[in-house]
């Protein structure tokens, strides 16, 4: 397991500067939380780590252990073990999550013990743990799914692919409290496996079940404050304004 390191990262999207010098590290096995008001650039950071084609890095770099992610393509980054749960997962007509996962699983370096039938069973078991009915495994992925169903679908995929570091973008929006608990449980399982987590969120809510090592506040494309989980609690109580206007 390696550390995800972001150094002096400047990023633009459609010609507009979005991130203005981000320094951030997610040590191996750690859980870091990235909070901030709407439009602060949180999701852009997640997408930048995975090399979204619409985003241009103008300065700085991103590394993960020996890999320089900022020079790699999305699929190479994923295969290096850095996976992203998207804020807005896409629907793909005629392709089920089972199709996608069985194709994807073969793309990763898998341990010798990896067996496809076993993997298929894992898909079913994980779906069950997330209280997802079987039909979700054979339907077109994300097509006609509710917001909550899409989020569960993201966690399902992250749980099953051999991740080393996961970036989880607003998994808590659209989830009711029971679903949120189930999702948090899967995230805890990842942590128990030593996977490092960068959790992007608006709210403190999910932190009731997930213990954060560090909390960062982002505003206008910069990290303006770093603290512990106490910082998240304070924000829940007092809002961002105290930090933004400071």
């Amino acid at each position: 397991m390696s550390t995800l390191t972001i150094k002096n990262l400047h990023v633009s999207l459609a010609g507009k500067a979005i991130l203005n010098g981000i320094d951030l590290a997610v040590p191996k096995g750690a859980t870091c939380v990235l909070m901030g008001p709407n439009g602060s650039g949180k999701s852009t950071l997640g997408n930048t780590i995975l090399a979204h084609p619409a985003i241009t890095i103008t300065k700085g770099k991103i590394t993960f252990g020996k890999h320089t992610l900022s020079k790699m393509k999305t699929d190479e980054i994923a295969r290096a073990g850095v996976l992203l749960a998207l804020q807005h997962p896409q629907a793909v007509s005629g392709v089920s999550v089972t199709n996608l996962l069985t194709i994807a699983a073969r793309k990763f370096a898998q341990p010798k013990s990896f067996k496809m039938p076993h993997f298929r069973q894992n898909i079913k078991d994980t779906a069950k743990a997330l209280h997802m009915p079987d039909e979700f495994l054979t339907r077109s992925i994300n097509e006609g799914f509710s917001g909550g169903e899409k989020k569960k679908m993201e966690i399902l995929q992250l749980a099953l692919l051999p991740a080393k570091c996961v970036i989880i973008d607003e998994i808590d929006s659209g989830l009711d409290i029971d679903a949120l608990k189930l999702v948090a449980k899967q995230i805890s399982k990842l942590r128990a496996r030593g996977v490092s987590v960068l959790l992007i969120t608006h709210y403190n809510r999910i932190l009731r079940w997930i213990e954060a090592d560090r909390v960062h506040i982002m505003h206008k494309g910069k990290i303006i404050k770093t603290g512990t989980s106490a910082l998240a609690k304070d924000i829940e109580k007092n809002g961002y304004s105290a930090y933004i206007n400071a």
Binding site: L50, H52, P53, A54, K73, T74, D75, A78, R79, L83, L84, L86, H88, P89, Q90, A91, V92, S93, G94, V95, N99, L100, L101, I103, A104, K107, F108, S140, E143, G144, Q157, L161
Partner: protein
């Protein structure tokens, strides 16, 4: 696609698309040059009365068929080239060779087949199962053993399954009754007339009353078939209460030297019968593929058309169901793929001529690299065909900005008591979709292929597994330009 479109694929991908396109073309030429001529008889180029007579003589046909050919030739001369569809001005009827006989049954085993032929099959993606057949190897392919075992059983039940030339010889009364008499006539259009004059090969299939054939009959199961002609005539008669599935495979790329394919398929689905006709065709990129396929569907009978159309320069293909009996039903499922320099004008024609008839049409197309695909549909419901239901769905997928997709649905309804539905959707492969799939570790090409595969899924799942796999592979190959 139901998915909303956010952005077309990025500049990088577009560039790659063009490169792929060029690579694809390059192969088509190289491939053609490399293909050997292995014909034992070949008529002179062009079409004249004498050539038509020569074809008939070469085949040792009875006088009635020769007369039929000559009459068709007169219709051909008289009728104009259709101008309502794609541009056919590049088609020169006098530069085409209309008849050739191949070295039939020359090789006794797959090992004896020359390497160049084997390689060609490999390159153009003919399924393993069909390669042996195409090479004229008889008795080697395992399915034939299967077929051999089944054949006596079918014959006992009165099933006839042979090539159409043999049917002319063996079952003249049936051929006289059904061959271009009622379903498709030579007076309809120039290409049907040409077909009548120069037709050769194809399948003759008769399923007697009440007989259900539970395994799909495939072209390459047919014994002693002549691997002949791009003017093949398929004649299928499914008698009352019988059922059959017939599959024609990617037999096309062999006939690379000729630039016209004008097949005719006539299907008679009698009262309460059920027929499914499936074809996956992959033509070399200089072929005009102009076919006429039609089914006459009687009371409570069902006709299903499942088709995949790949390759060719211009394809015009609109399988037609004439629902003439009360409660008759037609299902049309078609996919057309138009790559660089290709024009696919495909669709469906359905005539509701009786009450409570149903048609369901799903037409999908993929245009890429500047290819043009057009859905052209004709739906007619006559006065008195009350309670009829028709649903048409056209889905187009375009992975780039330089390709074209058209939808031309023509609907004529003279009855008020009907239910009609029409949907048309055009989807692009969005940057967000590709990013999503790549974020799971798939390469860009794999991501695009997966979106395309998903798009074709409704067609693929109606095909036997080997064909579904083959169709996916062929399309991925076309789009990658990885031929050669």
């Amino acid at each position: 696609m139901k998915t909303n479109v956010t952005a077309p694929i990025g500049a990088h991908a577009k560039g790659a698309g063009r490169r792929r396109a060029e690579a694809g073309y390059g192969h088509a030429k190289a491939g053609n040059d490399a293909l050997p001529d292995r014909f034992v008889h070949r008529a002179k180029r062009g079409i004249t009365r004498e050539i038509v007579e020569e074809i008939s003589r070469e085949k040792n046909e009875p006088a009635w068929m020769r007369e039929f050919r000559l009459k068709s030739y007169e219709d051909f001369v008289r009728l104009p080239v259709p101008t309502w569809g794609p541009d056919l001005s590049g088609l020169d009827f006098q530069s085409i060779s209309y008849y050739q006989r191949t070295e039939e049954g020359k090789y006794k085993s797959w090992d004896e087949v020359p390497a160049d032929i084997k390689n060609t099959f490999e390159k153009i993606g003919v399924p393993q199962a069909e390669r042996a057949f195409l090479a004229g190897v008889i008795g080697q392919y395992e399915s034939e053993g299967f077929y051999q075992k089944l054949r006596p059983k079918w014959e006992e039940m009165g099933v006839i399954f042979c090539d159409t030339d043999t049917a002319v010889e063996m079952y003249p009364e049936m051929v006289k009754k059904y061959f271009m008499t009622e379903c498709i006539k030579t007076t309809e259009h120039k290409l049907a007339a040409l077909h009548g004059a120069v037709w050769s090969g194809g399948t003759f299939l008769y399923v007697p009353k009440g007989v259900h054939i539970d395994m799909p009959l495939q072209t390459y199961f047919r014994m002693n078939a002549r691997a002949s002609g791009q003017f093949e005539h398929t004649l299928i008669i499914v008698d009352e209460g019988a059922s059959v599935q017939y599959i024609e495979g990617c037999t096309a790329p062999l006939y690379h030297n000729n630039s016209l394919h004008a097949a005719v398929v006539e299907i008679f689905v009698k009262k309460g019968a059920r027929s499914r006709y499936t074809t996956i065709q992959n033509w070399s990129k200089d072929v005009y593929n102009l076919n006429t396929k039609r089914a006459l569907v009687e009371e409570d009978a069902i006709q299903e058309w499942v088709g995949g159309s790949l390759g060719s320069k211009v394809t015009m293909l609109y399988p037609c169901s004439i629902l003439k009996g009360r409660g008759a039903r037609a299902e049309h499922l078609n996919i057309a793929v138009a790559g660089p320099g290709q024009h696919k004008d495909t669709g469906a024609k359905v005539m509701h001529l009786a009450p409570y008839t149903t048609s369901n049409i799903i037409s999908k197309s993929i245009s890429f690299g500047g290819g043009i695909s057009t859905y052209r549909g004709l739906l007619k419901i006559i006065k008195g065909a009350k309670g009829s239901v028709s649903h048409v769905q056209c889905d187009a997928l375009m992975p780039d900005n330089i390709s074209v997709s058209n939808t031309i649905p023509y609907i004529k309804v003279d009855e008020e008591d009907v239910t009609l539905g029409h949907e048309a959707k055009v989807g692009r492969i969005s940057e967000e979709q590709v990013f999503y799939l790549m974020s799971r570790g798939l390469t860009e090409q794999e991501a695009i292929n997966l979106v395309v595969q998903g798009f074709m899924e409704p067609i693929a799942k109606s095909l036997p597994l080997e064909y579904a796999v083959e169709l996916n592979r062929l399309i991925a190959m076309e789009m990658e330009g990885s031929l050669g």
